[in-house]
């Protein structure tokens, strides 16, 4: 039994472990952090049992440590994510993600009449509510709520 667990999420020497990602949003997290474009060793597991999330995913990235503003970008799709910073096989720091005050790029404005959905423009939102995330578009001033958040 233990061996099986070990296979799913093998330990790393140095790097970052991102745990408690909702399983359905694993690939969004990968894309937001640009993990599909780097050479580092990455292991991930998905559809793992979680009391809190139902099905969760976990990502382990070797030799990579994220600046705070980068990691906070995933708060939109993984608000309960927990980060463990690993040095020499030991957890040296634990972090939680925080929804930033402003979101640049990443999210699509849900308003089909918004100019950002018609011309090549980087989207920009002010976060007006952090718990049930609500984003106000800098351009059309409409509010995109949690339910309608679509990652670009």
């Amino acid at each position: 039994m233990n061996d099986k667990k070990h296979l799913m999420v093998s330990a790393i020497k140095d790097g970052t472990v991102i745990d408690h990602i909702p399983a359905r949003n694993l690939f969004k997290v990968i894309s937001i952090l640009g993990l599909n474009k780097i050479e580092n060793q990455i292991t991930f597991g998905t559809n793992l049992e979680s009391k809190k999330l139902g099905k969760k995913a976990i990502i382990k990235i070797a030799n990579l440590f994220f600046p705070e503003e980068d990691i906070n970008k995933i708060a939109l799709v993984a608000p309960d994510a927990k980060l463990n910073i690993i040095r020499d096989y030991a957890v040296v720091e634990k972090k939680v993600v925080q929804v930033p005050d402003e979101i640049v790029g990443i999210v699509k404005c849900f308003n089909p009449q918004c100019i950002t959905n018609h011309e090549k423009i980087t989207t920009r939102f002010t976060v007006i509510q952090k718990k049930e995330v609500a984003l106000k578009c800098h351009y059309c001033e409409k509010i995109t709520d949690q339910e309608h958040i679509e990652i670009l």
Partner: protein, 302 residues
């Protein structure tokens, strides 16, 4: 205000607005000749709006300014597939100020970031139309002698009507009381009610137009559009429930005025037009003075 764009009603402060209203009053009293001589102002109407465009162009030409532009996108290079980004960049080179209307929301904000000259938003889809709001405020102050402590009825399409939303935001700086009169399908969105709540401003919602009408200082009418209704029967019922008729004015305050951003369809009966309480046609004329004041403020001429 010099060199600043006016895209949204929240871009300027209360003090800015009062300054513009004061200037507009001066311009109404006496038109300064040739204040805009030597200036070229572009009016880019990607979507036709005769009333707003003529009001702007009249405002500019009466002060000796020159106007370039187009009145709908069919007569511009938009038909050739040019992006808004490119159109704005090019027109920036030809003009001192850009006035634009565009069917897409957020287009004016985007243009103001691309343009090297200031941009005035003359309507971006259902989003903002700040010069309309300023002319509404001007009309309110002119007829009531003040902006503070007024009882304001907002009637009709309160859900989609951008003019009522902007007016609500702007007037909230002056301690008003609001009455919202609309059918269920077109009620004031909760975000605006929350905004009023946060400012401690009282508001009342009702379906019966005549209720409390004797308290009103301003009745702000808007058009109820058929396409807003999922059920055509509901539209037919509503259409007639929210019509302002002459007999409803009997017990209203002597100084009460009726405003409407126009065009109207049937929501104000024709017999109201002769009443001294009808102000909607004069309201449109005020638009020229307000637009002159906004343009001259932004160009740093006053």
């Amino acid at each position: 205000m010099k060199n600043r764009s006016l895209v949204s009603i929240t871009d300027f402060t209360k003090e800015d607005y009062l300054k513009i209203l004061d200037k507009a009053a001066e311009f109404e009293h006496q038109q300064p000749s040739d204040l805009l001589r030597g200036f070229v102002i572009a009016t880019l109407f990607f979507e036709p709006s005769t009333r707003t465009r003529l009001s702007f162009e009249s405002a500019i030409q009466r002060l000796g300014g020159k106007v370039i532009g187009f009145s709908d996108s069919n007569s511009s290079s938009v038909v050739k597939g040019e992006t808004l980004r490119d159109t704005i960049r090019i027109v920036s080179n030809y003009s001192d100020l850009i006035v634009m209307r565009h069917p897409l929301e957020g287009s004016a904000r985007f243009a103001s970031e691309i343009a090297t000259v200031p941009v005035i938003n003359a309507g971006d889809g259902a989003n903002q139309h700040p010069t309309q709001t300023l002319l509404d405020m001007y009309s309110i102050r002119k007829t009531q002698g003040k902006l503070e402590n007024l009882n304001i009825f907002l009637v009709g399409d309160l859900k989609y009507g951008r003019t009522v939303h902007s007016l609500l935001m702007a007037m909230s700086a002056f301690n008003p009381k609001f009455w919202f009169v609309s059918p269920d399908e077109l009620k004031m969105p909760s975000e605006y009610k929350l905004f009023l709540h946060s400012k401690g401003i009282e508001y009342f919602e009702q379906k019966d137009f005549a209720e409390n009408i004797d308290l009103a200082d301003i009745i702000y009418m808007t058009r109820v559009q058929k396409e807003r209704f999922s059920d055509p029967m509901e539209y037919e019922k509503t259409k007639n429930a929210l019509v302002l008729k002459k007999n409803m004015l009997a017990n209203t305050r002597p100084g009460m005025k009726i405003l409407h951003p126009l065009p109207r369809v049937n929501e104000i009966s024709i017999d109201v037009d002769d009443s001294e309480k009808a102000y909607y046609f004069t309201q449109a004329l005020n638009g020229v003075y307000i637009r002159q004041a906004i343009i001259c403020s932004i160009l740093g001429l006053i």
